[in-house]
Subunit: 316 residues, 2 copies
């Protein structure tokens, strides 16, 4: 446990990744949640995606979200895009820009989600980097999607993930920009504590100067176990989603479970003396607000269990 | 990760600890679940408690459960008791006997649950050991309840837990019987991966020959993270509950969340090459049966997510 960080940064994905996989939520409700989240100590909130609104109608109000933001100091309000046209839409708004590139370890998932091979998807990232440079924007994130597995191809080996990341970083280098942070993304919740530890270990050995972060999903219950594995390997940046928002965890829908839960991850860190800068009670209020907005229970535990010796009832 | 076991034993607590905290379930339904569980590869099922039926009406049918069992080979059907009268009731049935002693690190919880101080509770265990000897029964389990925290006293330190365990094992030794397995029991889900690792490390150093097991609850979402912490410390025995059965996870009730989920723990182990001997698909069927019986969704994830690359839908 010698690598355990003393402080972690938890970035909020709920309004983007969470609402992206739910029924369409009114813009005003999204803005209400974003503003509540902005008062919890979170330093970065992913607010929406600039993607094909025909395919993803949940995100059709991306411009309206930007227009409705009341920006609070100390909070970055970012958005996601996956193409040049998405980037240009984001550029025209008030969002804080987080220029990123992405690749996908699973070629099947790349085909299904991007309509091109994994190799072609990586080549396209060079054009994105050139575009960022034209706007004097440094490259911030590189996302290694499906780093641990995929719904179509099953588990993915560390060697396979490393080979894809090698290709992506080669394209970055060829275009003169290395990402500030590389996200190892467990897109469908395929990782185990062992595979997460293995990939972090391999990536840190190969690129000792590179900063790595984890984007985890709790599809199969191992989300916080994987986060703990990451913490013991020195990872200090995590994406998470308020209440575990995302997908339809209590319907029959499969493979659409949300990110690991923001407040549960924060609780685990805080109780081990790892500072998060987050207000747990306010986060729990936000999780309840998210439940109210989607009209469904969310899987996060802290909002129900409360603090030990404070809110808990009798021993079970 | 050098201490990772190659095989773990997962013991089923659902019919006892799960149904104990739900509404009263008809005996026939309990028997149906027990028999389904007995066909999953589980080697031990905790079927019921011999406790005060006025205080715990859910367990009033303990004798009828025993009478209704269809015992399948290779499965131990055990029950719990906390007093001499409970033991005598169990003795009169067909249950496999698992003689145990218990103590409680939290004196407040001991008072509330047993009506005596923690020290007095430990003294009473000597009488239980004598009773077991009268029936030529070796001592099997020692339970260290509230080993990591308590709803009343909050977090409990490793030193406090160690002091209580020291007292319990001294009483055991004075009465000429040491337990085959000591359970470090996170009764209310108060542990973190760090506190779980810390207590296991301290206990293994103090009693290197003693076998330890973990009884974990997922009240605050850290259940599988704590299990992973235990696995990395070489723990190879875990209690768990089908589907995460126990308490009312989706009602407003607090502090009554169930054990860690049997099939999710089994999935995590199997995917890391740690053998469980369990049939995951049959366990998922049992979890759905448990949901049908209690008329509520259970928190376990595997029963919804399925196997990677087999049942999962499109990437989220």
């Amino acid at each position: 446990m010698s690598d355990l960080p003393s402080r972690v940064e938890i970035f909020e994905e709920g309004p983007r990744e969470g609402f992206q996989s739910s029924a369409v939520v009114p813009t005003a409700q999204k803005l209400r949640l974003i503003d509540a989240l902005a008062q919890t100590g979170l330093s970065q909130i992913d607010c929406t995606s600039f993607v094909n609104t025909r395919l993803v109608p949940q995100m059709a109000d991306a411009e309206q979200i930007a227009a409705g933001l009341v920006k609070r100091p100390g909070v970055r309000y970012i958005s996601l895009w996956l193409s040049e046209s998405g980037f240009r839409r984001a550029l025209a708004t008030s969002f804080d820009l987080a220029p990123s590139v992405l690749c996908c370890v699973s070629s099947t998932a790349a085909e299904k989600n991007s309509g091109c091979s994994g190799a072609e998807l990586i080549r396209r990232q060079g054009r994105m980097i050139d575009l960022y440079r034209e706007h004097a924007l440094p490259l911030e994130y590189a996302h290694l999607s499906n780093a641990f597995g995929c719904s179509y191809e099953g588990h993915i080996s560390t060697a396979q993930a490393m080979a894809t990341l090698e290709e992506l970083l080669a394209v970055c280098a060829a275009h003169g920009a290395l990402p500030r942070v590389v996200y190892l993304s467990d897109t469908v919740g395929a990782g185990t504590p062992q595979s997460v530890s293995s990939l972090i270990g391999a990536a840190r050995s190969r690129w000792p100067e590179q900063q790595f972060a984890l984007h985890l999903h709790d599809t199969r219950g191992m989300g916080l176990a994987n986060a703990w594995a990451g913490l013991t390997m020195g990872i200090s940046r995590f994406d998470a989603s308020i209440g575990g928002l995302g997908g339809c965890p209590f319907s029959g829908a499969r493979g659409t479970t949300g990110n690991i839960c923001t407040e549960d991850l924060a609780l685990m860190c805080e109780e081990m003396g790892i500072a998060t800068g987050l207000d747990l009670d306010r986060l729990a209020d936000c999780a309840r607000l998210a439940e109210e907005i989607i009209g469904q229970d969310l899987p996060g535990k802290f909002k129900r269990a409360g603090r030990l010796g404070v809110a808990l009832g009798a021993a079970a």
